[in-house]
Symmetry: C2
Subunit: 208 residues, 2 copies
DNA sequence: CGTATGCTCAAACGATCGTTTGAACGCCTG
DNA sequence: CAGGCGTTCAAACGATCGTTTGAGCATACG
C-alpha cells in the first residue's frame, strides 16, 4: 500500500490521518494496523508505541475531531442564547453548522463516515466512550429543544429528535445520492446545505 | 458459545438465524464463522458446505428478508394506486408499513440493524448486490414521490428523500432512545409508530 | 566523549480468521 | 444386505490479525 499522507508531519499525526481514512473506508475491524501503518508510511510497531493499542487509537481519532466540534457547538449555542437569537432555527444552526463545516474540510467528510459507523456498530465500549465524553452536549441541546417545543410530550420530543438525528447523520456521512453541485462556490454550497438541513429539521420538529 | 436457535429447524435455517443475530450484534467482519456455527449448534464446515462462503451467507441473510419485504412494498404500492388512495401518506404507508411490521416480529428488529450496518459499511460488492436485486423498488417509489411532489426540482426531491430515508433507517434499527411503551398492545403500538413516521416524513417532504 | 532518552526498525509471538479435506455417519433405494 | 448419497464431523491448512521484543539509530546533556 502506498503512503497517502504528508511525510513532513509527525508520526502520530500521520497515523491519525491514515486511520481516519481507512476506518471510514473499511471500518474499525476491517482496517488492519498493517494497512494503516503502510498507508501512513510508518513502522507497524509505531501504533502500539504511540497509542498503546488499536482501541486507544480509535479513541484518539474521535477525540481529535469531536473535541473541537462539540466545543464549537456549545459556543454557538451560548452565543445564540446571549444575543437573544434562540429560535428553533438558531439552535439547529448551532448544532448543524460546525458539523457541516467540518464535513466540508479536506478529510472531514471521511470523519463523518467514521462517526456514522460508530452509530451502526453497537460496540459497547465505544458507545460508552462517546457518551462519557460528549453526552453532555446532546443533553444540553435536548433541553433547549424541550424549552422551544413545550407543547410536545417528552416521548414525542425524543421521537422527533431521534428522527432528525438519523436524517442528519445519514446525510452528512454522504450515504445517499446527494452530490455537490459543480457551478456554485464552496461557501455558497455550504450555506445552501445548512439552510436545507435546518428547514427539514424545523419541519420535522414542529409539524402538528 | 451457547446455542441460541431452535434445534429442531434445519441446519441451513439455524445458520441463517444465528447469522442474523450475530451480524446485527458484531457486524459482518466482527462475527466469525466459529462463533456463528457454535451459536447455531452446527459444525464449522456447515457454512461453506451449504452456502459456499461467508459472503454468500451474507447475501442469503439479506435475501431471506428482503425478497418478501420488497414484494410487500410493491404490492401495497400497487393496491394504493388501483384504489385511488395514492396521496403522499398512502405511498409512504406502502413503503413504511411492511418494514415496520417486519421489525416488530420476533427477530425482525435484528435484521433492521443488519440493514443499517449494510448502509454504514461502504462495501462495494454488498452495495452492488443490494442495488442489483432491490434497486427497482426504490426507483419506483422515487418516481411516485416525483409525481406527488411536482413542484420540487429533481435535486430538491432527492435531498428530501435521502433525509427521510436516513431518519427511517435510524429509527427502525433502534439506535436511539425510543422504547416501546409498556401499556399499549402490540398492534396499537405498531399503528402509532407507523403514523408517527408517516407524519414526520410528510412534514419533511412537503415543507415549503 | 560517554551515556541517557526518544524513537524506529525488522522479526517474531500466539491467536484467530475463512476455507478445505477426508473419514464417518444416517438413510433411502434397489 | 449392499451401495450410493447427502450431510456432519474433527482436524488441519495457510493467511492475517494485534501485540511484543530487542537491537539500532539519532539527538541532547553531563
Amino acid at each position: 500500500m502506498e503512503a497517502i499522507v504528508n511525510r513532513s508531519s509527525s508520526t502520530k499525526d500521520r497515523i491519525l490521518g491514515a486511520a481516519e481514512v481507512l476506518f471510514a473506508q473499511r471500518g474499525f475491524e476491517g482496517a488492519s494496523l498493517r494497512q494503516l501503518t503502510a498507508a501512513a508510511g510508518v513502522n507497524l510497531a509505531a501504533v502500539n508505541y504511540h497509542f498503546g493499542s488499536k482501541d486507544k487509537l480509535v479513541e484518539q481519532v474521535f477525540r481529535r475531531r469531536l473535541d473541537t466540534l462539540n466545543a464549537q457547538r456549545l459556543a454557538a449555542l451560548g452565543n445564540a442564547r446571549e444575543s437573544g437569537n434562540d429560535r428553533l432555527e438558531d439552535v439547529l444552526d448551532a448544532f448543524i453548522r460546525p458539523a457541516l463545516k467540518l464535513s466540508h474540510e479536506d478529510s472531514g467528510s471521511l470523519f463523518m463516515r467514521v462517526l456514522a459507523r460508530a452509530f451502526a456498530e453497537h460496540d459497547d465500549s465505544l458507545r460508552q466512550f462517546l457518551s462519557e465524553n460528549y453526552g453532555h452536549v446532546m443533553r444540553q441541546f435536548t433541553a433547549e429543544f424541550a424549552r422551544l417545543l413545550p407543547h410536545l410530550s417528552k416521548e414525542e420530543l425524543y421521537w422527533r429528535i431521534d428522527l432528525v438525528t438519523g436524517a442528519l447523520t445519514h446525510a452528512m456521512s454522504g450515504f445517499g445520492m446527494i452530490q455537490r453541485k459543480q457551478d456554485v462556490s464552496e461557501g455558497v454550497h455550504l450555506e445552501q446545505t445548512i439552510q436545507h438541513l435546518i428547514r427539514f429539521a424545523v419541519a420535522g420538529l414542529t409539524h402538528p
